[in-house]
Symmetry: C2
Subunit: 172 residues, 2 copies
Amino acid sequence: MKRISVDMDGVIANVYSQFIQMHAAEFGEVLPSAAIEGKPEKVAFLNAMKYVTSPGFFLDAPVIENSQAVMQKLNEHYELFVVSAAMEFPASLPEKKSWLVTHFPFITWQQIVFCGSKEIIKADIMIDDHFKNLDIFSGETLLFTQPHNILASAGRHTRVNSWNEIEQLLLS
Amino acid sequence: MKRISVDMDGVIANVYSQFIQMHAAEFGEVLPSAAIEGKPEKVAFLNAMKYVTSPGFFLDAPVIENSQAVMQKLNEHYELFVVSAAMEFPASLPEKKSWLVTHFPFITWQQIVFCGSKEIIKADIMIDDHFKNLDIFSGETLLFTQPHNILASAGRHTRVNSWNEIEQLLLS
């Protein structure tokens, strides 16, 4: 059974929605796509670091469309792990665990990894929205489209724009 | 550079000291070695689960002798990761991170992993006190002696009784 490492932020947890909402609450403007595309989150959102360290930022993040249904199917055909490079923000760890219990109850605690660098992860397939994680992974790599990576060439990675595309690739 | 995965509880963090102290506080008796040797922590300590979920259990754990000095040297010659199967107890996660920052300040957040199962860990050497982690690891395995494993044969693993022995093995 092949093992998949699935990222949280930007792959199953919609952190952009949180950034946009908190930016709008602080500055009174909803940033248009053009203002955030191709930019790292820290650049696109002036106070990004303040937002990610706010209580509730991770706990209240919406679920990315169709991720629950497709993850539930993947869980039957693969060794599924949720792997989040969350160690930079230790206060987020219980929030992220709690979020997973709420939205992905079929993922057991044995299937969750919070790390700093993903170079220590041993899996066959990695789904992530960040090149820094995919580039150091030797297996099959799926780049999940998010505003920060949307303008870049996927290079050796396979770009996926939705969980429906992941379902097509890994379950058909 | 070879990568080492070092366990926390029972390898660098002295959780037995915490168990023994909390048991003594609750029942008025310091358990003798004979009462805990060869038994899983959950069996040796009647209320073990209550203790590990108490605030401060992980935060206040003493450091295992010589682990700091030897870890600091290992950090110069190996890719060092601290890997703790901590996901069962999410409230412990910030405590464990904070404990590491306090006692092992040379370990960066990029070098820390909190997981459920260690089967996803890719490294060359694993130091752990639990057979369940070492048995599924394909690299070099060091079994750190603790009361629960002291009566067992180390099997294919190399038993180490102290951080001085680890220093001899990995740094001489």
